[in-house]
């Protein structure tokens, strides 16, 4: 026998049964879980996602508690994650978390497209070819921490594979 649950969510009267809920989320990917979840056909969903999908209501109009209670009355297992998820890592664009708070990137900006010999974040010498860098270090008896070519905008290092133009290279 199908259990039909009647009630009100966000002031709207509703009558739901478990099959309606299953059908509503059958082709839906579960969103990332926060604290609470409900198990439907072996998959864990945020309870508010399910109620929103089956009723069409805006999630801002009801609480997780209302959603869990409704789904429990329909016979679905609800639960609470053992530990809350860790906070997301800082945004990639938050330079305060970068190794040099963005100062290295700015120090290198004038040398985009050039080979550089670098000491710390300071550029010792910049040139068009790595050979010129080697020559300069030898002549001046200098030691760099590392040597590389500062990528140009749109380079492979930046992730723009389609922008590589091999005709510019010997």
């Amino acid at each position: 026998m199908t259990t039909i649950v009647k009630g009100r969510i966000a002031g709207q009267p509703f009558a739901l049964d478990a099959d309606q809920v299953r059908q509503a989320v059958a082709g839906v990917l579960p969103e990332p879980l926060h604290e609470h979840y409900v198990v439907i056909d072996g998959r864990r969903f945020p309870p508010k996602q399910v109620i929103a999908a089956v009723t069409g209501l805006d999630r801002a109009d009801f609480t997780t508690h209302q959603a869990r209670r409704t789904l429990r009355r329909l016979g679905f297992l609800t639960g609470r994650r053992a530990t809350p998820p860790p906070p997301p890592p800082p945004s990639r664009t938050d330079k305060s978390t970068w190794p040099h708070q963005g100062r290295e990137a700015e120090a290198l900006r004038p040398y985009m497209g050039k080979w550089v010999a670098q000491k710390g974040i300071e550029v010792l010498f910049a040139a068009d070819t790595p050979g010129q860098i080697f020559d300069w270090l030898e002549r001046n008896d200098q030691y760099a921490d590392e040597m590389f070519k500062v990528p140009e905008p749109g380079s492979l290092a930046e992730g723009w594979t389609s922008k590589v133009d091999i005709t510019r290279w010997p």
């Binding site: 190794p99 900006r109 790595p130 080697f134 594979t161």
Partner: protein, 132 residues
């Protein structure tokens, strides 16, 4: 050995890449910044590195390989590499053309010798020398 990611200027805000400075054939004046590439089998360097450091490519294994979407001619010879105090010898495939800003360290020539922890959330790379 712990290394911060390299900060690089981009078209907008800039970006970061995991790299380590590697001394090639004992030339300590200019360690080469090498990207860590777990998806690459071998170490790939630009041919210019061999020319500038007078590395003899005679008799090296020749091949054509695909890197970053292009086909490049490569010659492989064993090279002595150093990262910090760790010294190892591994084949390096010197490639021409090499339209890339960094050299590349791969599985056989680098990850076989080191335990590596990459933490993109904190922009750090930690390498422990553990040759098999």
């Amino acid at each position: 050995m712990k290394f911060g990611f390299k900060e690089l200027p981009g078209r907008d805000e800039g970006y970061l890449r995991p790299r380590v400075p590697v001394v090639v054939e004992g030339y300590a004046r200019a360690p080469l910044a090498c990207l860590l590439d777990t998806g690459t089998l071998h170490n790939r360097f630009g041919r210019h590195v061999a020319e500038d450091l007078s590395i003899d490519l005679t008799g090296g294994e020749r091949g054509r390989i695909g890197v970053g979407g292009l086909i490049t001619e490569s010659i492989a010879v064993p090279v002595v590499l150093r990262l910090g105090d760790a010294v190892w010898q591994a084949p390096v495939w010197f490639c021409n053309p090499w339209p890339f800003e960094f050299q590349v360290l791969g599985q056989e020539g680098f990850f076989r010798f080191f335990r590596v922890e990459i933490r993109a959330a904190t922009y750090t790379v930690e390498c422990t020398f553990e040759p098999a």
